[in-house]
């Protein structure tokens, strides 16, 4: 049985994480990912769009979810993780994003268990930024 820092049972919350969105981190992410879309990195351009300012790459927020799941399930997440999400709202510099989740179901299979989780990212106003589900196989 896999050892986790939380109780591996249906209904258990995953250890949540909180992240501050900064323009510096968005710029660094643009450099690392090669995605320099001006909506993320050019304040003058972004101000003239319907979004009214720069927004974080959606993939940054997904990286936070992946970080929470790596913390919860370790290398199993890297070799058997599945994520299915919808982007609900943009995250902007200055936002504080809380990433949380809980175990919905545990399916017992042949020599492993599939952990089915709900995942959620909310901003400081409690608005959902990303909603979705994650699955991971553990021994």
């Amino acid at each position: 049985m896999m050892s986790t820092s939380f109780e591996l049972k249906e209904g258990s919350p995953l250890p949540k994480i909180t992240k501050n969105i900064t323009q510096d981190n968005i710029n660094l992410y643009a450099k690392a990912s090669g995605d320099f879309n001006p909506i993320h990195v050019d304040a003058d351009y972004a101000r003239k769009t319907p979004l009214g300012g720069t927004v974080a790459h959606g993939m940054i927020i997904l990286a936070y979810i992946s970080q929470m799941l790596t913390g919860a399930f370790g290398q199993r997440w890297l070799t058997s993780g599945k994520l299915n999400v919808r982007f609900r709202a943009p995250a902007r510099p200055g936002d504080v994003i809380t990433v949380s989740g809980s175990i919905r179901r545990i399916e017992r299979g042949d020599g492993h268990q599939t952990i089915d989780c709900e995942v959620l990212c909310r901003n400081q106003n409690d608005e959902p930024v990303i909603t979705g589900e994650a699955k991971v196989k553990v021994k």
């Binding site: 992240k19 981190n25 968005i26 660094l28 992410y29 450099k31 690392a32 990912s33 090669g34 995605d35 790459h57 959606g58 993939m59 940054i60 997904l62 990286a63 936070y64 992946s66 970080q67 790596t70 913390g71 370790g74 290398q75 997440w77 890297l78 070799t79 058997s80 993780g81 599945k82 994520l83 299915n84 999400v85 919808r86 982007f87």
Partner: protein, 125 residues
């Protein structure tokens, strides 16, 4: 863009410097990535999307609305990866198009490490 349209395969590597920048950008400090050469799966995903977005030439106003990923093997910094992508669905909704693109990333042994489905809404030109 049409159903079934395939994009040219794109090969890429994730070097240690890129991984370090990525870890700093997202504030990832899990010991799993310390001196192991392991690449965070979402860094692989981001670089495969970069290749895809370059190939599609997204028009201004494109919105990334949904994302699925499945990670099937670890990636290390010395690995050479190849991303394959195809349009699996095109739906017209008024002045917008909903496009779904499937991506498959293989390592140098042709072993899949990641598959994904990306949903975009594109404004009609």
């Amino acid at each position: 863009m049409k159903d079934g349209q395939e994009f040219p395969p794109a090969a890429f590597q994730v070097d240690a410097r890129t991984v370090a920048d990525y870890l700093k950008a997202v504030g990832e400090d899990n010991g799993l990535y310390e001196n192991t050469g392991l690449v965070p799966p979402m860094a692989v995903a981001a670089l495969s999307l970069k290749a895809l977005i370059s190939a599609i030439s997204m028009p201004p106003g494109t919105i990334h609305v949904s994302q699925e990923f499945e990670f099937t093997d670890t990636v290390k910094t010395e690995d050479t990866l190849t991303s394959h992508a195809r349009v699996s669905r095109v739906q017209a909704r008024g002045k917008l198009h909903l496009i779904t693109v499937e991506t498959r990333v293989l390592n140098q042994e042709s072993k899949p490490v990641l598959t994904g489905k990306t949903g975009f809404i594109l404004p009609t030109p």
